[in-house]
C-alpha cells in the first residue's frame, strides 16, 4: 500500500476533520511517533535540531562572515578560496553543507543565487531559506530573466553590470559577498553586521547604510 493516500491535487490547503489541524500535521505526528517507537530517531533530537535552526543560526551568522571579510583582507582571500574552511575559523559550519563557494560582487559584476530544482541553501551560514527562495516563480524565472526578477524585488542593475546566476546544488552551496557601501567606512565589524542583510547575501539586494 502506498503511504500517500491523499489525492495529490488536493494536497495544498487541505485540512483534516479535526478542528483546524491540517492533515500534514497529523501525518508528521504519526511518522514521528512511529520512528520514535522503533528507535529510528529520538524526539528530543528533533527538538534539538529545530531549536538550533530557530534560535542559533540565521542570517546573522552569514553577516558575521561578510563583516569579517570586509575588514580583514587576508580572511577575505581565504574565504574566496575555500568558503567552508574560512567559516570554520569563526566556528561556523555544520554537516549540512559539503562545499561553500563565496562569490564576490564588484562595480561591474553582480552575483545572485537560486536553486532551480528545490531549495539548496547554505543552512549553517544563513539559516533556513525564505519562502520566496523556494517558490516556483523565483526558481524558474531567475535563471531566464534575472534582471527583471531582481528589478521586481527592488534591485536595479545597470545594463553594463554583468549578472551571474549560480545554481545551488546539494554538493555546492553559494554565498554572495556583497559590496561594502562606501558610506560604511569607519564602521566597526559589529556595526557592519547590522547593515548586512540575508537578501544581500543571496544577491537580491545591495547593502546600504
Amino acid at each position: 500500500m502506498s503511504i500517500d493516500k491523499h489525492n495529490h491535487d488536493e494536497k495544498h490547503h487541505h485540512h483534516s476533520d479535526i478542528g483546524d489541524k491540517p492533515w500534514q500535521a497529523i501525518r508528521i505526528e504519526a511518522v514521528e511517533s512511529l520512528l520514535h517507537e522503533i528507535g529510528v530517531i529520538n524526539s528530543s533530537d528533533v527538538d534539538a535540531i529545530v531549536h538550533h535552526y530557530e534560535e542559533k543560526v540565521g542570517p546573522k551568522t552569514g553577516a558575521r562572515v561578510v563583516a569579517k571579510a570586509w575588514t580583514d583582507p587576508d580572511f577575505k582571500a581565504r574565504l574566496l578560496a575555500d568558503g567552508l574552511e574560512a567559516c570554520a575559523e569563526l566556528g561556523i559550519g555544520g554537516p549540512e553543507t559539503e562545499r561553500l563557494r563565496v562569490v564576490e560582487n564588484t562595480d561591474t559584476l553582480h552575483n545572485v543565487v537560486v536553486c532551480t530544482l528545490c531549495s539548496c541553501y547554505p543552512w549553517p551560514i544563513l539559516g533556513l531559506p525564505p519562502a520566496w527562495y523556494k517558490s516556483s516563480a523565483y526558481r524558474s524565472r531567475l535563471v531566464r530573466e534575472p534582471r527583471k526578477v531582481l528589478e521586481e524585488m527592488g534591485l536595479q542593475l545597470t545594463q553594463e553590470t554583468e549578472v551571474r546566476v549560480w545554481d545551488s546544488v546539494s554538493e555546492i552551496r553559494y554565498l554572495v559577498l556583497p559590496q561594502r557601501p562606501s558610506a560604511s567606512a569607519g564602521m566597526s565589524e559589529s556595526e557592519l553586521m547590522d547593515i548586512i542583510t540575508r537578501d544581500a547575501m543571496i544577491g537580491v539586494a545591495r547593502v546600504s547604510v
Binding site: S2, I3, S119, P130, I196
Partner: protein, 133 residues
C-alpha cells in the same frame, strides 16, 4: 508566466532577518525529523534531496506551483514518507494505524476540552441592581 507577486510580495519586502523560524509548527517537525533520521544514518541528505526534487517536479508539472511554506513542506513531507517507505523503515499500513491513533487522541483532547470550556463570558461574582429614584 509565473509571477513573483500573489503572496510573495510580503516575503520580499525588505525585512533582513525574517523567515528564520518556521511559520507552521508541523513544518518544523518535518524539517527536524528528516535531519534527525539522516544524521542517524538512515539515509543521506543527497538521497532525500533527490526525492524532494522529484516530488516538487511532479507537483509543478501538474500545475501546482509552490507559493507558500505549506506548499513546499507538503512536498517535503511526501518525499520523506516515500523515502521511509522505500527504505522499508515504515510501511503505509503502519502509518495509517499511527495516524488513526493521533486522530483518536486529538478527538479525545477536543472532547475533554469541550467539557471544561466556559461558554460565553462568566457571570460576575457579585451583582447589585441599581435603584430608581
Amino acid at each position: 508566466m509565473m509571477s513573483l507577486t500573489s503572496g510573495l510580495d510580503a516575503a520580499i519586502a525588505g525585512k533582513p532577518f525574517d523567515s528564520i523560524t518556521f511559520q507552521l509548527p508541523w513544518t518544523a517537525r518535518a524539517f527536524g525529523l528528516m535531519l534527525a533520521a539522516s544524521r542517524a544514518g538512515h539515509f543521506s541528505l543527497k538521497t532525500f534531496q533527490a526525492g524532494l526534487i522529484n516530488t516538487i517536479d511532479v507537483s509543478e508539472s501538474r500545475g501546482l506551483e509552490i507559493r507558500t511554506e505549506e506548499d513546499y513542506y507538503t512536498c517535503w513531507l511526501e518525499a520523506l514518507t516515500n523515502l521511509l517507505e522505500s527504505k522499508q523503515i515504515l510501511t503505509g499500513q503502519q502509518l495509517e494505524i499511527a495516524e488513526d491513533k493521533v486522530r483518536v487522541r486529538l478527538r479525545a483532547l477536543d472532547h475533554d476540552h469541550s467539557h471544561t470550556h466556559i461558554q460565553g463570558f462568566p457571570a460576575p461574582i457579585y451583582m447589585e441592581h441599581g435603584k430608581c429614584k
